[in-house]
Each structure stands twice: as structure tokens, then as C-alpha cells.
């Protein structure tokens, strides 16, 4: 059986070993789907106001854009990736995945009502557990939190973070405050106490600037500039000493690319050598902290010519940093087979399964 990403090859032809897909998405089909998982007051609020759900969802992925979902993964009359049967048919079976990490982001941050936003996050998490995790043992999942409200986020981690198949807390990459700042430390404390991963994922409040310098005019700009937001967040996490305060903290960078990491690393290491005394808790070169605490999904790969990509892999300096992902149902046209071929053989199994298995304790 082949899948669109395999371009006519069978999954076993591409890779005969185990596969863990570290980023597959679940889409909430409609706000009404969450009502059974919410107190009635919030359903009433929505009906009163004619509120159909977070605006961020529509803004981030224009429904008609071809990159929103591969044509093969669309079905008439339903939202792509909105139930577990679709996921089985499109990913779990053809890819024969051992485990998949389910991410339902749903832009819960775009709701500013402090109680309603927390209720919305609770309903998304309970919906994910009941409608997805309980229906397929191959799935583990991320939970969402009202990230701009650390106290509420901690309460939600305390409520669902002990679920044996919740492995990650999703934090949208765009935020009003950089995530290294100490106001977020209670979230990391709650997260690391439960051995959960921080999933730094594409997205954020729709009124938040999608680039680090202001509002772009076009989607093309927004998509291309998003890597800057990832860079700003990981720089903040490192400079503020998050990994000295929480030595067990692990971060998955999802949909952020990784080819920009070596250039960032050279610059950060140089700045650290000269300005270490300003951030004296940073006890080793930032690129070493990246290798110890960060993992990156390979969707998108942002592949250039293969020989150049091979250099980038070498410059990153570790075989333990990349994780396979389909980013289902979104459309990337990366050639996974060509990518695997340019990796050192010892790295292929790590990328396809072992690194994610270690990160998420699967």
C-alpha cells in the first residue's frame, strides 16, 4: 500500500523498520462537537454570541488552500482529519506506524475570556482522550493549555497531565511574552514533574504578530517568517536559564523546520562566549543545550539540494535530534525517501522511530 507522501513507493520499500509519526493533527470538526465535553454555560455563551470557535483555526489554514490538506485526505462534507477513522485510513494503516503523536491545537489562546478559555482547553483535551486516544491504542497525544494564563495552564496540566497517553503540552510558537520568562516557570514545573514534553508548535494568538518584527501583509510572508518566531522562543528558553532551572525539560520543535539551526547555533555560541556574565546560569554553549534538550520534526524538511542538506545534518552535530512526521493532513511535498538516503545509516532508525520513542518515553 502506498500513500501520497511515498510517491508510489510502498512503505516497506521506503523504510522497513519501525515508524513513529511525531506530528499528526486532529481537527475539531465544529464547536458543537466539544459541547458534550463542556459545562452547559459555555455552550450557552457560544449560542448567545453566535461564536463558532476560535478564529485562529480559520486564519491559520484557509479552508480552500491546497496546503491545508492533501487532496487524497479530503472527504466530501467533513473537515479533514476530524475523526479517528480518517487517521487510520490515511496514516496509521498505510504507514504502519507503531505510535503517532496526535496534536489538536485548536487555537484555544485566541479566546481571551479567562474562564471560557480554560473551559475550552479542558473540552479539547477531554474530546481528544475520548474520541481519539480511547479509540486507537497506537495514539498518544498532546494536551492544550491556555498558555497566556500560566496559573490556569498549571491547573489543566494537573487535571489531565497524568493521563498515561498524554505525553506533551502544546505551546503555540507565537506568544505575547517569550516563553523563557519566569512567569512561565510554573508551567514547566508542572510539565517536568509529570515527565511531559513541551511541544513548540506552529500557531498562536491571531492578534499576535506572526513575525518578530510586526504584521506581514501576505500568507507567503507569514509562513516564511514563522521560523523567526521559533528562533526567538528557543533563544529565550535558553538565555533565561530554563534548562538549568528544569534540567529534565525537553522541547519538541514541531513544524518549525531545522535547517536554520546551525546558523543560529554559531551565532548564539559566539554571543554566549562574550556575554556569558550577563546570563551566568547558562553553563554551556547554547548549541550544546539544543542537542541535549531539543528535538525537531522533519515536516517541513525545507530540503535544498541533497549534498547541501547532508552538510546541514553534519553541522547540527548529533544524530539524535530529528524526528519523522507526516504533519497529517497538511500537504508537504518533501521527498522522505531522498532525505533518508542522504542520512548516515546509523541515523535513519533514530529519525524514523527511536528519537521520538526516547523523547516521549514510548
Amino acid at each position: 500500500m502506498t500513500t501520497p507522501l511515498l510517491e508510489g513507493k510502498s512503505r516497506r520499500e521506503l523504510w522497513s523498520g519501525p515508524i513513529i509519526d511525531c506530528d499528526v493533527h486532529a481537527n475539531v470538526p465544529s464547536l458543537e462537537a466539544l459541547f458534550p465535553y463542556q459545562e452547559e454555560v459555555w455552550a450557552q455563551f457560544a449560542r448567545d454570541r453566535g461564536w463558532g470557535g476560535p478564529t485562529g483555526v480559520d486564519i491559520a489554514y484557509p479552508a480552500g488552500a491546497p496546503t491545508t490538506a492533501r487532496p487524497e485526505w479530503r472527504s466530501e462534507g467533513s473537515v479533514p482529519a476530524s475523526d479517528v477513522a480518517m487517521l487510520r485510513e490515511h496514516i496509521l494503516e498505510p504507514w504502519d506506524v507503531e505510535r503517532a503523536v496526535l496534536n489538536c491545537y485548536y487555537a484555544v489562546d485566541s479566546l481571551r475570556h479567562p474562564d471560557w478559555a480554560a473551559a475550552l482547553a479542558r473540552s479539547v483535551n477531554d474530546w481528544v482522550v475520548a474520541e481519539w486516544l480511547d479509540k486507537d491504542p497506537r495514539l498518544v497525544a498532546s494536551m492544550v493549555v491556555p498558555a497566556r494564563d500560566p496559573a490556569a495552564a498549571v491547573k489543566e496540566i494537573e487535571r489531565v497531565g497524568d493521563h498515561p497517553r498524554i505525553v506533551q503540552v502544546l505551546m503555540p510558537v507565537r506568544s505575547e511574552r517569550l516563553y523563557g520568562q519566569r512567569v512561565f516557570f510554573p508551567i514547566y514545573e508542572a510539565m517536568t514533574r509529570r515527565d511531559l514534553v513541551m511541544g513548540l508548535h506552529w500557531g498562536g494568538t491571531p492578534e499576535g504578530e506572526p513575525s518578530t518584527g510586526g504584521f506581514p501583509s501576505w500568507y507567503a510572508e507569514e509562513y516564511a517568517a514563522e521560523t523567526q518566531s521559533y528562533g526567538a522562543q528557543i533563544t529565550s528558553l535558553i538565555a533565561e536559564g530554563v534548562f538549568q532551572q528544569f534540567p529534565d525539560m525537553r522541547v519538541a520543535v514541531l513544524e518549525g523546520g531545522f535547517t536554520w539551526v546551525p546558523g543560529w547555533g554559531w551565532r548564539m555560541n559566539a554571543e554566549w562566549k562574550g556575554l556569558r556574565r550577563e546570563i551566568p546560569w547558562v553553563d554551556r554553549p547554547p548549541m550544546d543545550i539544543i542537542r541535549d534538550h531539543f528535538r525537531f520534526s522533519i515536516a517541513p524538511i525545507d530540503a535544498g539540494p541533497p549534498q547541501e542538506m547532508a552538510k546541514i545534518i553534519k553541522w547540527i552535530g548529533t544524530e539524535d535530534i530529528l524526528m519523522f512526521a507526516t504533519d497529517y493532513p497538511h500537504m508537504h511535498n518533501d521527498d522522505v525517501g531522498a532525505f533518508l538516503e542522504l542520512l548516515p545509516e546509523s541515523m535513519r532508525r533514530k529519525v524514523m522511530a527511536d528519537t521520538a520513542r526516547d523523547l516521549y518515553r514510548l
Binding site: 519566569r182 538549568q244 532551572q245 559566539a270 562566549k273 562574550g274 556569558r276 556574565r277 551566568p280 546560569w281
Partner: protein, 172 residues
């Protein structure tokens, strides 16, 4: 480095300055036998460093001298004023004034000379050991070049290996 001990080289002594020329807490750069040497007065003790950063050859002694800042975790900022660190003006890297020891990059250390002081006929020599580091801070392997300084009567005297201009840098 013990393993790289050089064969005995002739040491030359140069009168560099009057004692009062380098006030306490400050440092001055002097040209000595074609080499630029920074003399530091740390609470009445004198130390000398070659004005050359082992990183990329920057004018090391033109930088600021700062105390040591160290930490165990965010929000814990500790200060050790007994350490005096020269910061290279090119890249800000820190070297212990007394020993030439680098602090920041685990791969870098500057070469040092030892400074002596002597008063009249009586000469005291002082060989600075690398001071103990706070537990949290690892010294880097680089060392700035440190020279011996003596205080003889009212003069500061630097002892340094005889110039070997034209000598090839030996392959190590």
C-alpha cells in the same frame, strides 16, 4: 602545559615603569622589547599579561577588568570581586588577570606570564597558581600570556623569555 614544557630559554628582565605609574585597581599597557605588555595592579600586587588575546589576537589588555559573575540557576546572580577578569574588547571573552585562565568557553585559555615584585636587594618571587574556581564555573583551556613582574625599588620589572623574533612557530 607540563607536556609541552619548552627547553630552557634565556629570560630577560626589563624595567617597564615606576611603581606609581600603575595605580591600584588599574592597569596600563607598556611596550617592552617590541611586545605590548599590560601591567595590572590588583590590591598592590602586580600582574602582567601579553596584550594579545589567544582567541583571535585582539588587544586583550585594552579591555575592562571586571569581577566574576557566576550562578547556579536563573535569578541566582553571584559576584566574586576577588577575581579580576580582563575582557577582550573584540569579543568580550574573560581571562583571569592573575593567571591568564579563560572563563567562558570550555575550549579556550590564554597564555600567561608570572609577575614578581622585588624591593631593593630582597627579591620575592611569586608564582600564581590557578585559583580555585567556584563550583559552578569551569575554567577554559585557553590561557593568556602571563609575564613575571618584579617591583625593584621604585621600578616595575618584567621578566620574559628572550625575544626569538624570526623563530618559526614549532609544530606541536
Amino acid at each position: 602545559m607540563e607536556a609541552r614544557k619548552k627547553t630552557a630559554r634565556e629570560v630577560e628582565r626589563h624595567i617597564v615603569a615606576r611603581v606609581g605609574d600603575v595605580p591600584e585597581g588599574e592597569h596600563r599597557i607598556f611596550s617592552v622589547a617590541g611586545r605590548e605588555i599590560g601591567i595590572f595592579n590588583v590590591r598592590g600586587e602586580y600582574f602582567a599579561l601579553r596584550n594579545r588575546c589567544p582567541h583571535l589576537g585582539g588587544p586583550l589588555c585594552e579591555g575592562e577588568v571586571l569581577g566574576l559573575v557566576y550562578s547556579s540557576k536563573p535569578g541566582d546572580v553571584r559576584f566574586d570581586g576577588s577575581k579580576r577578569l580582563i575582557t577582550c574588547p573584540w569579543h568580550g571573552w574573560e581571562f583571569d588577570v592573575k593567571t591568564g585562565q579563560s572563563y567562558f568557553n570550555p575550549r579556550l585559555k590564554a597564555r600567561r606570564y608570572t609577575v614578581e615584585t622585588s624591593v631593593g636587594e630582597a627579591s620575592r618571587e611569586r608564582q600564581e597558581a590557578v585559583p580555585e574556581n567556584p563550583d559552578e564555573l569551569e575554567p577554559g583551556p585557553y590561557k593568556a600570556e602571563v609575564l613575571q613582574v618584579k617591583e625593584e625599588g621604585e621600578y616595575l620589572v618584567v621578566a620574559m623569555p628572550k625575544s626569538t623574533a624570526g623563530r618559526e612557530r614549532g609544530a606541536s
